[in-house]
Symmetry: C2
Subunit: 248 residues, 2 copies
């Protein structure tokens, strides 16, 4: 099969964690957001918002929340993707309808999905324009503070950020799990092939060794196992409950 320029862009993805000191233009931001908006949206609800952050003070605050990662502050623009039911709540209230649906797990899932589909479209659009991106989950480290900084109302959840800008590094592609570990045929296969997983571990170890000049020795399975013992961001569930985001 001939690989087209779109699939080439997709397969060529790597996260960028160092950007040149060059702001995105308004035109670039517009095309990124319009690309995001073109993604599918569950039942046409468009239950998400995108906040573009270029105010240096706000960026600095978000960086402090996000484990002090420099690229949260230093980039072409920082976007926050919000699972957003506030807009639709206002529409319901204006029309005098009940808004009972919004505070349900079903609708929370819809809003989370909408935010992600839009974000991934933005990521793809950015990379096609020669920009780099990095998703930033760690704005959730202090979800209350993030929400306060961005003046979020109830019914809105800041799911993740995305740093976008001109790449100032050229990392290798990070190896993905073997096809057969992700893909199942007609029914879930609970037992991925152990040999292919071992080979994958080897590839990941090689990747880290190369990236760090031999400083980091780590397989994928060891990294996964290490992360499973210490729950964190325990404020997320109370946040969702307090802001009417549907755990019911």
């Amino acid at each position: 099969m001939k690989i087209n320029p779109v699939i080439e862009t997709l397969l060529n993805h790597r996260s960028i964690r160092k950007f040149k000191d060059q702001a995105l233009t308004e035109k670039q931001i517009r095309i990124l957001v319009e690309s995001a908006q073109a993604a599918s949206t569950s039942s046409y609800t468009q239950s998400y918002s995108i906040i573009g952050v270029d105010d240096p003070k706000i960026k600095k605050q978000l960086r402090a929340i996000a484990s002090d990662q420099a690229y949260v502050e230093q980039n072409g623009c920082f976007f926050v993707f919000v699972a957003d039911q506030y807009r639709n709540k206002m529409i319901g209230e204006t029309s005098g309808e009940s808004t009972a649906v919004l505070n349900t797990t079903q609708r929370l899932l819809v809003a989370l999905g909408d935010a992600c589909f839009a974000a991934q479209n933005m990521a793809v659009a950015a990379e096609s324009m020669g920009l780099g991106i990095c998703y930033i989950g760690s704005i959730q480290n202090d979800i209350d503070k993030t929400s306060e900084i961005l003046h979020l109302p109830d019914f809105a959840f800041p799911f993740f950020g995305m740093a976008v800008g001109y790449p100032d590094q050229h990392p290798e592609k990070k190896p993905r799990l073997p096809f057969a570990a992700i893909y199942h045929h007609n029914r879930y296969n609970p037992a991925p092939d152990q040999n292919s997983l071992k080979a994958y571990d080897q590839r990941v170890a090689d990747y880290y060794r190369m990236r760090t000049g031999g400083q980091r020795e780590e397989t994928w399975t060891s990294q996964i196992a290490d992360g499973l013992g210490r729950p964190y961001r325990k404020a997320l569930k109370p946040y969702l409950e307090r802001h009417h985001l549907g755990l019911r």
Copy 2:
């Protein structure tokens, strides 16, 4: 700004609900899944699985769950995107580590995000290949049955399906909210411009009128308001709780 072929593909999206009777090839499925895998994944956890369904019996069962929508059965291939922590749970258990993290809201959000980023990449790849797609949220209508049909273990949640195939219809693009209703600058703007929302309602009404030959008269805000009063899919929260999917 010059629009490149990638952004053209993104902006050109429309959901397809009628497919030709032509199955995807194994090669096509491979490139779709590999495109999906290339998406970002939170903390490298790769917490998702993709189940490709081509067994006519299973497709028929899923169609029955999904409000009897014909295109769930009739397509080139039907994919189910699973927010999947089972794989990583097995890895943790094999290594003797605690797996306490998996049953937290934080990790549920990670798995949901990973499934969405992968899915949206697949959607973009498919459309770049001349295929059409439609997300299918309604496999959640009977989440227990969907899970049973696909033999899903605990720690795995079938988030949505995606019908992919050769389009047998050419719908118009569905209008999206005005840029200013989705995009906020530095802080959340709780009051979208009412005039631009009215103009948008008019565009949506025109779209439906054209698509249905005048049969359907509906604005976007009326559609949103109508859907807010009747909670449904109430089994989702108990499902997540019962299958150790982290509402804590």
